[in-house]
């Protein structure tokens, strides 16, 4: 069994790309039934361009799913590919991409930056912010971004201190907004995002 244990996101995405090819199933059918196969044999069998077949096989070999062996036909070298395993398991550990948080993130004092230029729109019902619009870039490259917020994020921003007033810690604002601690990652995510765009200032 070929187990892509602790696969990083990039490798998983690459495997996904190969598997999603229209001819992938037919290709794997060849690979699982043949002892080994060359790119030209696979291409002629599946009606593909040799380059397409070669890229596919090279890609899978790069992911360590196929074994690649150099052989010679008279003096001309070429590669033959064989499956290393008859079962592929994809195990993607999402905690690897979870942002690491420290207690400092929660005690950091924040408030809205004065003249940030952001426009906060209330959600229907008016108890929280529905989305934030802001501009980035200069001149002709200037673009408007509209950031739709989750309800907890909207409630958090509803209680964010105004510009030029005493700032509050993320903890305090979450308490004011009646938000559970489990929501901390998504709250910190929006705080960091708005801080990057100079809408929130941190102290």
């Amino acid at each position: 069994m070929r187990n892509l244990m602790n696969t990083d996101f990039k490798t998983a995405a690459l495997l996904g790309t190969y598997i999603s090819k229209e001819y992938a199933r037919d290709f794997f059918e060849l690979l699982v039934n043949y002892q080994d196969i060359s790119a030209s044999e696979a291409a002629s069998r599946l009606g593909l361009h040799i380059r397409t077949a070669q890229d596919f096989l090279e890609g899978l070999a790069g992911l360590d799913i196929l074994t690649k062996q150099e052989v010679y036909e008279k003096k001309r070298p070429y590669f033959r590919y064989s499956l290393k395993t008859h079962r592929i398991t994809l195990d993607l550990d999402l905690t690897q991409i979870q942002k690491a948080r420290s207690e400092n993130d929660m005690t950091r004092c924040i408030r809205e930056r004065a003249n940030s230029g952001a426009n906060f729109s209330l959600a229907r019902g008016g108890e929280y912010i529905g989305h934030v619009s802001f501009w980035t870039g200069e001149g002709r490259d200037r673009k408007e971004h509209r950031l739709s917020l989750t309800i907890p994020q909207g409630k958090f921003l509803f209680h964010l201190p105004f510009p030029n007033v005493e700032c509050l810690s993320v903890n305090e604002i979450m308490r004011k907004a009646n938000l559970e601690n489990e929501l901390t990652p998504e709250i910190l995510d929006v705080v960091e995002m708005l801080a990057q765009h100079n809408i929130i200032e941190m102290q």
Binding site: E112, A114, N115, S116, A118, N119, F120, S121, L122, G125, G126, E127, I129, L157, F158, H159, L160, P161, F162, P163, N164, V165, K176
Partner: protein, 269 residues
Amino acid sequence: MSFRKLRPEYSINDFIPFIAMIFSFAVSYVLFGPAIAKWVLGGAVMLFGLYLLMGYFRTYNTGYLLTAIFNIVWGGFAWSLQIPFPDEIPTLTKLLIVLLLFMLPVLWFFILTKRLKWRGREIFELAALQVEEATSGYTSRPRPVGKADYTEQDLHAFADFLSKNLIAIAYFESDRVIFAPVKNSQEYPFLLGVSPNLNEFSWVAFDLHGNVSVHISHKDYLAYRDELSFDALCRSLGQLFIEFLEMCQRGEQLRVNERINALQMSIFE
């Protein structure tokens, strides 16, 4: 009036209906003669009367009802005129003249005692009384100003009181009531029932869980002479409405009017 925190506002909005009436009368007089012009003038005045009647049904303010009737009678008077003028004035015209002469002093009484004046400017002035200057901290976000103790019925009674006294217009949403203080000459969209954009006007919202939040529009913030602490201004406006609500709950509506009148703003301010 330099002691005011608000800049003086010079608006011709109040005169637009009269200018439109005179203009339509003048144009129709020149193009079609006096016989047609009287119908145009009467029609325009009656139309304005109907708008005022809409205002009455939005606010239940007696002044609006009176001015609506006055305009409708005036329009009727214009229509009743016979051209060329006969030697003997028709009875209907006489009756309408008497009605107009009777209503005119009452109307002036309402105007001079500010019963026909929208009190939004006074509200913003009251809110700013204790607010200090600070570097601009404007934000389009509403500010939660705290909690208050009230029932849904209290909010309905409060909304009736504020609109009847031309202090604020209420918008009822599924779980909150929004009160928008209306300044004089800026009442038209509120009375015509144009769907409000919450970002474009100032409001104080009371939700059904007792939470009070305030939003002050950029336009209203810029109406102050100085850069006031925006946070404190929002808090003060919210507190003012909470105080007014508490007075209404205690049956002391008179005190609300007293506080507003204590500013002694003229009918033109």
